[in-house]
Each structure stands twice: as C-alpha cells, then as structure tokens.
C-alpha cells in the first residue's frame, strides 16, 4: 500500500516538475490572418514603441544555428530571422519563422514551444518564453517578462 501511494505521488510530482522552475512560458495562436511583409519588416513592427528594448543584432536562421536559436531544424520552415541583444550579456532573443502554410506553422509553433531553450546562453536565462503565431508566421520571444509581454502584444496587434 505504501509503495502504491509512493508511486502515485512520484508520478504527480514528475508532472509538477514539467512546469519548470519559475519559467513563464505561454503559447497562443492567432486567427487565420496573412501577415504581409518581410520578416525584417514584421520585426520592426514588433519592436515599434517598445520601452527598454536593448540594441539588437539580426541574423538569418540557418542550418547551423536554427536548433540553438529556436530548438527545431531549419527544414521546419521556409525562412527565419533571429534578433538577439547586441553587446549585452542579457537573455534577449526574438525569432521569426515563416512556414510553408498555416497548418505547418501550427505544428512549428508547437515544436518551438516544446524545444526552444530559454537557457541557451548558459550563463543567463530568459525569465519568459512566449510563442505566438499569426497565419504562417511564428514568433519566439525569450526575454525579461515585462519586455516579452510588450513584444507579444505588439505581435498580436498585427493580426488586426
């Protein structure tokens, strides 16, 4: 009887561990809307008006850096853009990915939600990880919570 209780409690605790350690993670999906413009243009709109935005450097997501930046292989999407804090040892990263179609973007968003690592820098860790989608475009935001929330709100607003 004791072993049964202990086993059941272990399973429950294992599930509680899956919640992470204070990591704020959320994922939401926008209604079907086509986001026009290049990923650079979309990023500029996401950054527009955000307070305390660090200086950033952008780079294309490639086979070499895709799993590090977003947790999934480059073959999972048609184009991708990563924007990280430049010259600053803070955990800040915004990545945009465009999938082949909306259906594939839904799957991509789920994968990124599961696999993107807010501790990718090792020595610093993002307080918040947010994955959103509008149409065929997926955004991954890893940053301090208040900043991540602003960026997420700007992205969602693009859905109209």
């Amino acid at each position: 009887m004791k072993k049964i209780i202990a086993f059941a409690l272990s399973v429950l605790m294992a599930f509680s561990l899956l919640a992470g350690c204070g990591q704020n993670s959320s994922s939401s999906v926008a209604e079907s809307v086509k986001l026009e413009g290049t990923l650079e243009e979309i990023l500029a709109k996401v950054y527009d008006g955000v307070t305390d935005l660090p200086m950033t450097m952008e780079q294309e997501l490639t086979e070499e850096n895709s799993e590090y930046n977003v947790g999934v292989a480059r073959s999972s999407y048609t184009e991708g853009l990563a924007s990280d804090a430049a010259i600053n040892a803070i955990a800040f990263s915004v990545c945009l990915m465009r999938a082949e179609d909306e259906e594939k973007a839904k799957t991509l968003a789920e994968e990124v939600e599961e696999k993107a690592d807010p501790r990718k820098w090792i020595c610093v860790e993002a307080e918040s990880k947010i994955v959103d989608r509008i149409g065929d475009v997926v955004i991954l935001i890893m940053a301090e919570k208040a900043l991540a929330d602003q960026l997420s709100a700007n992205f969602k607003a693009l859905a109209g």
Binding site: K2, K3, I5, A6, F7, L9, S10, V11, L12, M13, A14, S16, L17, G20, C21, Q23, M57, Q59, E64, N65, E67, Y68, N69, D84, A85, A86, I87, N88, A89, R119, K120, W121, I122, C123, V124
Partner: protein
C-alpha cells in the same frame, strides 16, 4: 488527509522525483537523471553534467569561427593559442565528456594556432561539487601549462580568501540534502592593483565583484559574471605584453591569474558580442590571443556570434 500529511508527502515526493526512482522510499540515486537544466549524474559526491560525445559539425563551426577571426578582426595579432577548459566529466569514472576527441579535432583543424592541453593539469577535486566550474584556488597547474606554452612564468604568491559556504549553479535542481561547499578565491598585492573596465557593469573597478558573495550566482564574483567585454589592466606587468582572451565563464576566474604577465587582458565573450562588430571594440595589433572555451561551447558553437 490533513495538511501536515500533505506537506510531508510533498517533501518525500520532491526527493523521489529528483531521484527518478518512482515507487522507492529511499534516497538512492540513479546513474543519470534529467532535470530542467539538462542531464546529470552523481559520482564521488560530484554532480556532473552529461555532455556526451563530440558533435563534429559543431566543432567544425567552432574552428571556422576562430579561423575567421584570425584572418579578419584579429589579423594583426602577434600570436594565437587555443585551449579547451575540461569539464569535470573528464575526470569521472563514467568519463561522459569526450575531451580527447574534441582536442584532437581542434588540433587537426586549427592551423596556425598553438593548442594547449589542460586536461593533465586538473583532477576532479579541482572543481566544485555543485557547480560546473573549476575552482580558482586550484588553477596553479593550469596557469603553469599556459605559461609554458605562451612563454610566461608566474612568481606571484597568493593568499587564499574564503567566503561563506554555498551551493552552486545546479542548486535549483539538486536534492534538499545536498551539502554546501566552501568558496575560495585568491588574492595578492598584484591583484589588488589591477583595475577593471566591465562593459556590463560600468561601476565595477576591481577584479572581484563582492555582491556575488551574497547571491545565488556565486561564480559571478569573478569579474562580475557574464559580460561582452572586460578589460583588466596591471600597470606593474610588462608593458609590451597584452592578451585578448576569448572565453566563457571558465575564463573569468583564470584571467586575474594571468595579470602578472600581461599589462592588459581583454576578456571577450562572443555569446554576447557579435564578431561582426569586434573591430569597433578591440584593437588586436601586436597582442596575443588565447581562445579558451569549455567542451560545452565546442559542442554548441552556434552560440558564438
């Protein structure tokens, strides 16, 4: 069920979940366990990250990055060296890190740079039990190995200072019964006169960042923790020797120990400073360059920008 029973069971569960052995009511530990921070195992009372075999595609990218810097932003440097900071997995019976393969790969692919094998200079006891890093007070043989390869010698004698016991970076994921361990650092008249300019912490002027002694990130004590660029200056060292040290957090405790031999040491962390802007912040002309990264970075080199 009463509240106190729920709390007792929750506490037992915490220990059980961390052991991964469902159904057991003992503190027995598995060979390997998974946490939110990664894969770990415990051997001889040391918690060790499971890094695994060398990832050759990442090692190849690592070499290309260093060669790109050698031929570009650092083209006017006087000498190039590289070393891998061994992680403690190298010294466990499980030997979960293929340091030898990493060293051999870099040695084969980093032409024009001198490799320095640091593995013989360390043992498991030279690392923290609850943190990934090596202990500064144990780095004498590492400094000697670097000195032999880079043609410098150290005569400075250090006093060993001690802070309060601590549990290292793994603490959020370790069992509650984990023992704290001592924290030491080295000091000397030479180190006290070294000045620091830290891009991440502009108000920091000394090698050791004392607020870290009260924080959960104890290793930030060395040079103030993560920073894109830090410059250390020792006016009493040979003026003609200057070093650019590219590294991760392992470099933060080592760099001060090299100050006797270099009037200026610039510590650069390419995780936070992109290579494309390096020339705006760094003049490599006539300076020596040392790349010192852990196996973890060699295996995940996409983090170097």
């Amino acid at each position: 069920m009463g509240m106190h029973w729920r709390r007792l069971i929750a506490g037992v569960l915490a220990a059980l979940a961390l052991t991964g052995s469902a159904g057991a009511c003992t503190a027995a530990l598995p060979q390997r366990f998974e946490s939110a921070l990664g894969s770990y195992y415990r051997e001889a009372d040391y918690w060790v990250e499971w890094i695994g075999p060398l990832k050759e595609d990442s090692a190849a990218r690592f070499c290309r990055k260093l060669q790109q810097l050698q031929g570009g932003a650092l083209s006017e440097a006087s000498a190039f060296y590289w070393a891998i900071a061994p992680d403690k997995g190298v010294y466990t019976e499980s030997a979960t890190t293929d340091y030898a393969a990493a060293y051999a790969y870099l040695e084969k692919n980093l032409a024009g740079m001198k490799g320095i094998d640091l593995a013989p200079a360390l043992t498991l006891a030279d690392y923290y039990r609850t943190d990934r890093h090596w202990r500064q007070e144990k780095l004498g043989p590492v400094v000697s190995a670097l000195g032999e390869a880079m043609n410098f010698s150290t005569e400075d004698s250090f006093t060993v200072e001690q802070g309060s016991d601590f549990i290292g970076a793994y603490s959020p994921y370790l069992p509650s019964w984990t023992r704290a361990e001592p924290f030491y650092w080295l000091n000397s008249e030479m180190l006290e006169q070294v000045t620091v300019e830290n891009m991440q912490r502009p108000d920091q002027t000394k090698i050791y960042w004392e607020p870290a002694l009260e924080s959960s990130n104890r290793y930030d004590f060395f040079l103030g923790g993560a920073s894109p660029l830090i410059t250390l200056k020792n006016p009493k060292a040979p003026a003609n020797r200057k070093l650019i040290l590219f590294g991760d957090s392992f470099a933060s405790s080592l760099a001060p120990l090299l100050c006797e031999s270099y009037s200026e040491i610039t510590v650069v962390d390419l995780r936070y400073l992109g290579s494309s802007v390096l020339e705006e912040y760094l003049d490599a002309a006539g300076k020596e360059v040392l790349f010192l990264y852990s196996v973890w970075v060699v295996n995940n080199s996409a983090m170097l920008r």
